[in-house]
Symmetry: C2
Subunit: 524 residues, 2 copies
């Protein structure tokens, strides 16, 4: 079995790697056939220089060029959909249908097409014109971007096809994709589709490149290299923080999505009003995809009382009765077990589950834990340990004041939910909890689970550290996610014919521009 090639400077080439790895089928725990290289630094550096050359070639191109590439890429993914779903299912054990084929793949192509539309339209670049001073500015591409994808969305967050990739390209940047080691075949197939699209739309050779793995040190060198401009990373907190430190030191922006336990606060009236429905909704949301979502509700806070006890019992029985899913890999299972052990050692009671196994391959029982508000407040950091997977921790708070105190102790999270009754009886409690929670989360929800992350212009898939590296940016949602991979470019007294089209007096299309304080699609 030969080692799969890497995509460097427009060619699938034999890697110079001296090491290789195989992915594992999580449902069988058996290694999959193909071997993939662990690229050495020379190979990574070749990719960096090719990306820099690509950036020099594409700088100043109209958004139309990037749009065409993104759209062709989406088409190519659709024409390979069957093979992609088979590969991703083998490598992740996520269901081929509906999850991979009917939800995630269409989401991925939809994202690419939305990014294409944004690249073509140009409004994302926020063209700003001050006719009084003749100063004009807009966001422009920042340069070569490294994208590190996570394990849990083999298509929609894939390093070579997901949201970060689409955003970086829409802004006009070449991408060096670093695939996740758990699904290299899926990544290879996506990169083939991207590579074909790049050739078909005449992108320069280093515009889309793929390596599968490097050692940690080379990863740090990649994100801090003088020719690299920025990085997008979605994954585990530990590895992310190592990259963050390297990028920070070099003054390179890095956008990280690291971890989140997505607290859910149920207020008394909501439990009284619709307990069974809430238990159904919560259990379904928490166990869906074996709980392996960034926005999985991993912490629940309820006010003590009969209704809380009933809710806990209702969720416990549903967790016990639900089928146990397969986890994405051995590492996920081990980290999950570690997390549960930490919570248990801190004093959380296991209501159901807690043990390994119960499903095909890598798996752990659906696990529900419980503790009191007082105990949580004695060790808030420990009780916020993420056990990524099919588990959640319920905290029984003494009263509303304690719910607020718990919210005050939360780390940054992607999301926070508050459920209240429909007749206003919980409004005082809501007004106490919401401001504290608002400060800690990127997306605040009412009466809705956080697991769905719509690709909407108003979405924020981000939040305060350590959920992400910067609370001002979102990883999902177009056009907002694009501006992460851009620099602010000001043109002061530049002669009219030298201005980028979007800043000329005549609007090149229907681009929204801020002209003398008013948004307009017209000419100056």
């Amino acid at each position: 079995m030969s080692i799969q090639p890497v995509l460097i400077d427009g060619e699938w080439i034999t890697s110079t790697a001296s090491k290789a790895f195989q992915a594992v089928n999580p449902a069988t725990r058996e290694p999959l056939a193909d071997e993939y290289p662990v690229s050495d630094w020379d190979e990574v550096e070749r990719a960096i220089h090719a990306a820099d050359a690509a950036f020099r070639a594409t700088r100043g191109w109209p958004g139309e060029r990037f749009a065409k590439f993104l759209e062709r890429f989406a088409d190519n993914i659709e024409s390979r959909a069957e093979a992609l779903v088979v590969a991703a299912n083998l490598e992740t054990a996520l269901p081929a249908s509906p999850r991979l084929g009917d939800v995630e793949l269409p989401r991925t192509t939809n994202q690419l097409r939305q990014a294409a539309a944004a690249a073509r339209d140009g409004s994302w670049s926020n063209p700003t014109i001050d006719t009084n001073t003749n100063i004009r500015s807009m966001f422009g591409p920042i340069g070569p971007v490294a994208v590190f994808g996570p394990n849990n969305f083999p298509f929609a967050f894939n390093s070579v096809a997901g949201g970060d990739f689409a955003a970086a390209v829409a802004a006009g940047n070449p991408v060096i994709a670093k695939g996740h080691s758990s699904h290299p075949q899926t990544t290879r197939l996506l990169a083939e589709a991207a590579h074909e699209a790049a050739k078909e739309t005449e992108m320069p050779s280093g515009f889309v490149q793929l390596i599968y793995r490097t050692n940690h040190e080379d990863g740090e060198k990649l994100v801090s290299h003088p020719l690299m401009a920025a990085t997008g990373y979605t994954g585990a907190r530990g590895a992310g923080l190592v990259l963050k430190q390297a990028a920070d030191r070099a003054g390179k922006p890095i956008y990280l999505e690291l971890s989140s336990i997505n607290p859910v606060f149920y207020l008394e009236g909501a439990l009284t009003e619709r307990l069974e429905a809430l238990a159904d909704e919560f259990s379904g949301s928490c166990l869906m995809g074996t709980g392996q979502f960034c926005t999985n509700p991993g912490l629940v806070v309820v006010p003590a009382g009969d209704k809380a006890d009933e809710f806990v019992a209702a969720v416990t029985s549903r967790f016990g009765a639900a089928a146990v899913g397969t986890m994405l890999g051995e590492g996920v299972q081990k980290d999950f077990e570690k997390g549960i052990t930490i919570l248990k050692n801190a004093g959380a009671e296991i209501l159901t589950g807690g043990e390994a196994g119960g499903g095909n391959g890598f798996s752990c029982a659906n696990t529900l834990l419980c503790t009191t508000g007082q105990k949580f407040l004695e060790a808030p950091e420990t009780f916020q340990t993420e056990a990524f997977g099919n588990s959640s921790l319920i905290v029984i708070a003494e009263d509303i004041a304690q719910m607020v105190a718990i919210a005050d102790q939360l780390e940054g999270n992607l999301t926070g939910c508050i459920y209240s009754d429909t007749n206003g009886g919980d409004d005082d409690a809501y007004d106490a909890v919401a401001p504290a929670l608002r400060r800690k989360v990127g997306r605040l929800l009412n009466d809705k689970m956080p697991t769905g992350v719509a690709v909407s212009a108003a979405m924020n898939h981000g939040g305060p550290y350590p959920a992400t590296g910067h609370a001002g940016f979102t990883a999902v949602g177009i056009p907002a996610s694009i501006s992460r991979f851009a620099m602010l470019e000001c043109y002061d007294n530049i002669r009219p014919h030298r201005l980028p089209d979007a800043l000329k007096d005549e609007n090149p299309g229907e681009t929204w521009r801020l002209v003398d304080g008013a948004w307009s699609q017209g000419d100056v």
Copy 2:
């Protein structure tokens, strides 16, 4: 002489500091009378807790409240203008008129009033509404902000009155100002004006606070404290990078303006066409304010030839003939001398100046250095050493290709200028140099010196690292500078009456909002 009080939690209180310092009059080199405290950590921590309490109190307030404070503050500055100008002149040796009284002070109140208008209007917060999914988002205040001001703009970049202060407050954040040690009395007078305004407009007690100095370790603790949300810093690169590392490790955004040599490229035709005028403009711009501007043109690149020689001679004679200004302090003079020595040791030839003295108090001769493009390219980092003050380095490039190579070797800068002739003869050279320079600077100029920084919505006073910490943000210009001190807040399925006013169906005023992809000032 008793030690001046600090402003903590709404009171001017006696500092618990065990150390104190005095400012020095740069024109006489004599210490000024007042003593100012070096706050200890307990005092800093008291300020942090008061700022946190202030943030809890003001969170959710309408922009109108912050606008009123900012406007009253601007009024109070104007009513104290005379005392402020006297103090700033004593502490900085910058001319009372026109610089301090007629330019910088009006600029400062203008910035505060522009920030007030932005706070009232709310458009800066980018309200985004997706009616299809009922997801809505906007920028909201991020929390307590620390502002570290520089030495060179005692009003307009002052920690308690300048651009960062105005932007942080406009977003709704309390500020802990850390004054610059070179102008504590100016800072005290500004803080008094701010404090009065805060009382008059009923801001909470910890909304505006002032400390004058801390030790380095406490500065690091301040910017990384869990209750602090973000930092704005303008100043020297070394101290800034120490704060950056502390803030980065804690996952706290820090916006830094660190250093910039602001390269200027003169193309052949421009020199042929208007050499004397260019030499006048350049010399005036470079020596104005004793060259102590962030955007001072410290590096000049000209194509070799008779015209270059003439230009060098013309600038040399102007530098030699111009009056020598006073520097802001002893540290500035010493750093300047160090910088010149580094450039000299690297092989730069001193055309004029180079020695200390020549003006009142702290001063160095107007200094012009020269080197060749080849030498520059052999040690590009060294030749980009900033000698902050009245100096510049001229690089004689062999040809256009070498000018491009020099641009490619530039670090990130705030600005970059290209001068070309008016009849198009330089256009090919421009097209070669401009893309390389564009990538390295926040603001690109044509035929204009970079020293003026208009407070315009289209301004970018920012640029790639190490000019600043993040090339996506600007420190000057409203509304763009405000978003640095904000977090993205998404509201998903939130009941209508709980939404912030700016996200309700009915537009609360004339706020620009992005509704279903179109900007509008109307209702949904």
